[in-house]
Each structure stands twice: as structure tokens, then as C-alpha cells.
Assembly symmetry: C2
Homo-oligomer: 324 residues x 2
Amino acid sequence: MSNNLEQKIDEILSRGVAEVIDKADLRKELLSGKKLRIKLGIDPTSPNLHLGRAITLWKMKDLEDLGHQIVLIFGDATGVIGDTSDKDSERPMLQEETVKKNLETYKEQVAKIINIKKAEVHFNSEWLAKLGYNEIGEHADQFSLAEFSARENIRERLKAGKRVSLREVLYPLMQGYDSVAIKADVEIGGTDQRFNLLAGRNLQKHFGQKQQNIIMVNLIEGTDGRKMSSSWGNTINLTDEPNDMFGKVMSITDDLIIKYFIHCTRVPMKRIKEIENQIKSEKINPRDAKLELAFEIVKIYHGENKAQKAKDYFINTFFGYNTS
Amino acid sequence: MSNNLEQKIDEILSRGVAEVIDKADLRKELLSGKKLRIKLGIDPTSPNLHLGRAITLWKMKDLEDLGHQIVLIFGDATGVIGDTSDKDSERPMLQEETVKKNLETYKEQVAKIINIKKAEVHFNSEWLAKLGYNEIGEHADQFSLAEFSARENIRERLKAGKRVSLREVLYPLMQGYDSVAIKADVEIGGTDQRFNLLAGRNLQKHFGQKQQNIIMVNLIEGTDGRKMSSSWGNTINLTDEPNDMFGKVMSITDDLIIKYFIHCTRVPMKRIKEIENQIKSEKINPRDAKLELAFEIVKIYHGENKAQKAKDYFINTFFGYNTS
């Protein structure tokens, strides 16, 4: 049993994971039997969640399954300010109405992966809207301009002579303070969030809290091979209709098949290894591996029945014959 | 009369002035007969105002005498955040109590120069305390990180590897918004305030107001020859006792005599020119010019009677004979 738990923890800390801070401490905490508070922030910058953003949700689900308390923060306050972590240029400030509108369906979308009834759900305006210059000044005091300017995407934009707005300085303070507000033990985020995730540790330290551990997951590419991003229209959305979703997965390049299996499904790693080996040794056609992948993904969001129908439809339409 | 007004305006725009933005527009406005709103912000970073900080007050008085509305802003909010414009390193955040305590005597000190009864007086927490992340984000969006980092003192600190806190980014936003809040037509400040003063124009533009004009006055050196600054203990304070004040003025270096006459007194420029020529042509001993200067300065803050006594005391004590 304990051995089984260790295995699960090791998978959680490695599958789709780029970096863990601090890994030894987190492993110890996860083994301790303590119920940890696992934080995930989601900004409503577009109306749809996509497979790329679901990677963190899967990590949440894994930890929920281990009995930890997941804490979802919908960024109604951060969404307005806007994070440019993953962008090579400024992101416009959103109108509050846009943010609210985008938020409406988020709970429903998130519930496709995690058990939202067991989750603690917050909007970060709960605490961020109460902060004024005094508090924000105190928080800002914990960070240096040099650190901020050295962030990879900021440094590159500055070097290219692109504008970086002073507004962008505020974002990590907000995300960081979210961790203080909900007393996070662990925060999950993409690798592009590194600075913002560390901001949480920084502010927690200032406020005398134990510093959260961090699980950074990989980002995945979208249907055009570039990073999956709502700004680029290359996303596979959790709300896509079965046939669309199936077709979009079939359109990804072959070299992404295994990455998608690892990050976007919960097919056991053992099976994924098998598929990987079969593709490498040309024992299966990548197209067939992709059919399995697309089926798995549609199954998650629409159930087995609809997944089978989407598969049949795809094969009939595009292959012109029935393989089933 | 109109000619007389033009002369007065020309003196206001030149005596002790380093730069005017935008000079042509400001001159036109001052001649128009319109009652302008003249802004001066004073942060309570130390308990005492000194001659260096009084330079802006003199400019306020000159404009008050012309019938304009002077608007004094006591920076109870900005004082906490702290401005490092004139500093070569970070300034600590002040406690709110320190700021309040320092503020107590400020009105009294300011009233030594301007007619505080005719002035409009504000504390900037009136409006700044109402702002949250949304508004601050909107304001911050009007500024770029590159502009901020290019400020002379910031650039030099970054180059020297000294820490610049993200808190310092907030200060110009606050001072700039003060101008929006009180709808300033003109702001007066030291040359070290250039970025903050321009921030007011920037934000006023964003909020659809006419951009304030700016009168930047020179900074003066203190008793040790370095810039007069409370941080350095080289100040001559408005609250100094007559004998102390007299003695401190007597201790400045000879090359500062004319500068002090111009910036710290309202002795007519014609008389100052005379003194300057007499010193140059060695018709008077600089020490005697300094006696006149010290007398003038003590007279302003303590009246003619006490100024005379301080002069007598100084001469008796330090020269060992009576020149009067």
C-alpha cells in the first residue's frame, strides 16, 4: 500500500512534469498523510479551456484522487490585468464584462476533469479587490526590477525593443498573493508561469507562511505545431463537439502523438510505452496510434459512446471505408 | 500693467527655474487672466521642511500672488510608498504612523511662505486609498518599463548592480494620478521629479484632461556642499531657531551665496545682481554678503527683529566685535 502510494506520487511528480520546486520536500509532504492544499489559478482570458490548459487540471485530479484538497481560483481580478507570461507581446487589458462572460462556463468545463463538488472554489477578486496602494506597495517591495526584467519573455521583448507595460509588473504580485490568501501548500502551473509561481513562494515567506511547493507542467503544441494558445486559434477545446475534437486530434503531427498521450489522457504509462515502441519499430501505423489517441481524448469529454461514433464518422468520411 | 504682469511672469518662469514644460503654453495661460490650479505635492518623509524644499513653495507663493489657486497635496499615501527619485538607493517604506506624525507640523511650516488660508489642501489618500488593482493596472498601462528603467537614477542604480524594488514603479503612478484627481493646470517640482511630473501629463491625457504644464526648479546644496537632503543631515530647516538658522547659512561655501539669494529669498533680482557684481569685483567681502543673506533668510521665517538679534549674536560670538 505504502509502496503503491510511492509509485503514484512518483508518477504525479514526473508524468508531463518539467520541474518541481522543491521536489524532496513535496515528496515528503505527499507521503506524510497530511491533507495538502493544492492551488490552481485559471484566468478567463477566452471563453474556452483547451487541452493545453487541461494539463494542469489533470495534475489537480491526480492529487484530488490522493485525498488532497484542491483549491481552484478563477482569476476574475487577474484576468482584467492580464498575464503576458506566455506571450511575446503585450496583452490588452480585458473589460470586466468580458472576463465575467468568459467565466460563466468555466466551472462546467473544469468539472469535466475534476470533481468540482469536492473542490474549494474562489474568485480572486475576493481578496485582490480589497488591496490598495499600501498593500500592493508592500508586496511589490519583495521583488526587484532586475528579477522582473530578467524573465525570459520580458528580456526578449525588451531586447527586441518591444513595449513592456508597467501593468505587467503587477501580475505576478497578484498571482503570488493568491497563494498567501488561500495558504497554498502546492501550486500547479505551466513552465511559462515560473516567475509567477515563485512569486507565491516569495510572498508567502514575507507573510510568514511555509512556502508552497511547485509542480510545473509542460506546455503542448496545438494543431498547427505552435504552442497551443487561444490567441492563435490552434486549440482543441474541452467543449468541442465530438467530431470536431476527433478530427482536430487526427490533424496533429505524428511526433506529438506520445506527448499527447502523456499529457492529455490518463492512459497508463505502460501502455503509452508500448505504443511508442510499436511506432518506433514500425509495428503500427502512426495513423492508427492517433486513432486510439483521438478516441481516448473524445471519450474523456464526451463518453465512450460518442467517442466511438466520432471515430466511425472520421473513418467513414476521411478513409472512405470502415475499419471496425 | 499688462507689461508689469509680463515681467512678473517672466521672472516666475526663470528665477530658480531649470526647465518649463510647455513654456509657451504656460506663458499664454498665465497671461490669459484664467485662474489656474497650481499643484504642489509634499511628502512627509521627515519632520522638517528645509530651504531646499521651500524653493517650490516660493514658486507657489509667486503664483498665489498673481491670483491663481494653489493646491497643496500632503502625501500621506505617497509618503508610505516612498519616492526614490532623488536617492541613489532604495528608500524604506515608512510606517503610516511616522507619516502622520511628520505631517502634523507641515501645515504650520508651509504657512511660513504661502497663505494657507487661501490654499486648497488635500491629503492624497483621499483618492489614492480608493484605488485597487483594476485602476492601478489601468494607470500602469500608460507607462513602459523601458521608460521607467531609463530614468537617470534608476538606470545608474541598475548599472551599479543596486537593487531597485518593484515598489518604486508605483510611485510615479501615484503622483501622476494626484494631478488627475485635482485637475492640475500646473505642477511645480524639483528637477529630480522630472519623471513623476511627466507622469501627471501622461495620466491626464489618458483621462481626457488638458495636460498640466510643469515648472521644474533647481535643487540647492546644503551646509556640506552636497544636495540638501534630510537623509544627509545637511539641511537648514524652516523651523530652525534664529541663531541656528543664521549660523548654518553663514557656514555655506561662498560660491553658493548668489544661488541662495535667488532660490531662498525674494530679494529682488536687481539687488542680487548688484551683490554678485560687488563680490566679483571684490568690492565687498563675501562674508558680508553672507551676513546679508543670513539676515534675509532668518527675517522670512522669524521676522526682522529676531533676524537682527541673530545677526548680532553671530557677530558677537564669532567675530568678537560688533559691526552694527
